[in-house]
Every structure is written in C-alpha cells, then in structure tokens.
Symmetry: C2
Subunit: 194 residues, 2 copies
C-alpha cells in the first residue's frame, strides 16, 4: 500500500512542472525525480500522465477561489475587482513567466487530448459562470445597466485577462495585467452615461 | 547545392506542423518526413529547429497583413473591423482548433527559448503598433475621443482577441470570435456619450 504522502508529492511536483515547463516538456520521469520517487511508482497513483494532468488542473481550479465571486457579504463589483487583484497577485507570486495553467493547457494540449480539452473547456465555463454570477448581482443592485448581457461581459473579461497574461508572459512584465484593469475592466464595467 | 524548392518544402511543412501540433510535439524528423526529404537534409537549410521556427513565425507575421491597417484609402475604424474580420476568416479557414501561432509560441516556448520569446514579443509589439496607428488615424478624424489612449486600446484589443481565440480553440467553435466583436470591440470603440 503506497504512503498517501507519496501521491501528494507526485501531484505537487507534476503541478509545478506542468505549470512552469508545460505538459509536453515534462516527462513522467522528470516528475517522479522531482518528487524523489522511482519512476515505476508513478503507476501506483495514476493510470497515465493525462490522468495526473487532470488532477493538477482540478487543484489549480480550486486555487482560483471562484467561490469568493459569490460572497454576498461583499458588494458585487468589489468582488469582481478583488478577483482580478487576487489572480494578479497569484501570477506575480508564482512567476509572471508561467501564465495561467488553463490557458497553457488549452494551447498545448487541445489537439492532443480530448480529456484535457474537455476539462479545460469546463473549467473555463465555471470561471465565466462564476464571474457572470457576480455581474448579475451587480445588475440586480443597479450597478450595471439592466439590459447588459452579463454572460457576454463575463466571457469578454476572462478572455481579455488570459490575453493580458499571455502578453505579460512574453514581456516578462506584469504591466499588461495593470493595463487589463485600466484598458478593459474599467471601460467595460463603466455604467453607460444617460 | 540544395534545390531552393526543398528549403521551401521544409519551411511549409514546419509551419503547418508547428501551427497544428505545437513546437515541442513536432520533431525535425516529422517535418522532413512531411516534406518528403531525409532528416539530414534539414541542416542544409537551418542551424537548428529554433532557427526554423523563427522563419515560420516571420512568415506567419507577414500573412497577418498588418500593412492594411495603415491603408489611408480606407476609413480608419473600417480598417480595424476589417482586420479582425480577416483574422477571423483566416482562423476559421485554417482550423479553429489551431489558434494564433504567436499565442501558441508565446505559451509553449517562452520558458524554453529566449530567441523565440524575443521574436514573439516583437511581433506582438508590431501588431499592437499597427492597430494603434489605425486608432490614431480614427482619433485624428474625430471618430474616437481626443483624450483616449490609443496604445492602451490597441493592446486591449489584441489581447482580448487572443483570449477569444484561446476559448474558440477549446470550444472548437468560432462563437468567441463573434463575441469579441459584440462584447469587446464594439463597446471599447464606442464613442463616449456626451
């Protein structure tokens, strides 16, 4: 019976490698080496590299703290701002050069694994949905115009964020994340003038 | 002396492979096989896989037709709309599952090759610059408010487009590209009401 902590070590090493180096550039042996375990032990925990990748994406999704977008104790547009501030801090802390794990997998694995593509598609859907929920709350409070399509707005914000992150990565500079705030988030959330 | 056409065959095969399968998933042998040439012939044309990738990115950049953004015979905001319509048609024609080659390389190779990262950074800079030029022309004609930061706006549009393309890829559906138009391009270009 393998120790539970060894599986954790493999998942933690995989998540770090996949996020920093990419899926194709990280072999199973790199990951088990990083976890200090023999390569053969990998198959005690996962049926395949793809299965392990799904587990790392699931954990990455949990770390996005989407539940905070539904926190009724916080005014809805404040939740939206805080969400992107949280993501910004997380990206800068982890390393501006490594991007969003969902975006990375979307680009690197969509043509290679239907299971990974499906997981990323659903994860992005949950993200857009959670953001749309906060925008819908804002609309109910009159902080956004009643006629505004909040699903379209939420999708626009998530996509613009991911594009900003891609540029931040290439530039090695978080400036595009600040420009997302002033150039996209603020103008798209501005109340239309009467 | 190698036939000039063989080099072209290698570059065309490389561009297709890199765009459809990614940089890491396309080996030199895959590429020379696709071009119908022996693997060893590759080094007649390129010093390295990285060098060949830069050539494919250079050609991809040319195919974006950025010069049309500066065409003074066309009203400037029409140039901007036509630019994104052109890109949309190109993406759909090539295959919605393959994304933007600059975005793909940004994510897949930034941590692996300083030369590729630099090329992509400069290519994205030229794209944002060409778009900002058209927006500046629009501003000069009073089609955008005088105080608007057109460099920030151009960057926001390119990044939002790349995020939309990422979602289109994961969904296998061009809908996010249409949503870019209604959810981002039109609202960000709308003249502020008085």
């Amino acid at each position: 019976m393998p120790r539970p902590s060894s599986r954790e070590e493999v998942v933690a090493a995989a998540q770090d490698r996949f996020h920093r180096r990419g899926y194709h550039a990280s072999g199973v042996k790199d990951i088990t080496d990083a976890a200090g375990l023999p390569k053969g032990s990998f198959y005690n925990y996962f049926a395949s590299k793809e299965d392990m990748a799904i587990e790392t994406l699931r954990r990455y999704g949990q770390s996005r703290q989407l539940h905070r977008l539904g926190d009724q104790a916080v005014p809805p547009l404040q939740r939206v701002s805080e969400h992107f501030e949280f993501l910004r801090a997380d990206v800068v802390n982890f390393g501006i050069g490594y991007g969003c794990m969902f975006g990375n997998f979307a680009i690197e694995t969509s043509e290679h694994s239907e299971a990974l593509r499906t997981f990323v598609r659903e994860a992005l859907g949950r993200w857009v949905g959670a953001l749309a929920g906060a925008l819908r709350d804002a609309q109910a409070r009159g902080e956004l115009p009643a006629g505004r399509d909040v699903d379209l707005l939420a999708a626009a914000l998530v996509r613009a964020w991911q594009g900003a992150l891609l540029h931040a990565r290439v530039l090695g500079d978080p400036a595009p994340l600040d420009e997302f705030e002033t150039g996209t988030l603020e103008p798209l959330l501005a109340k239309e003038k009467a």
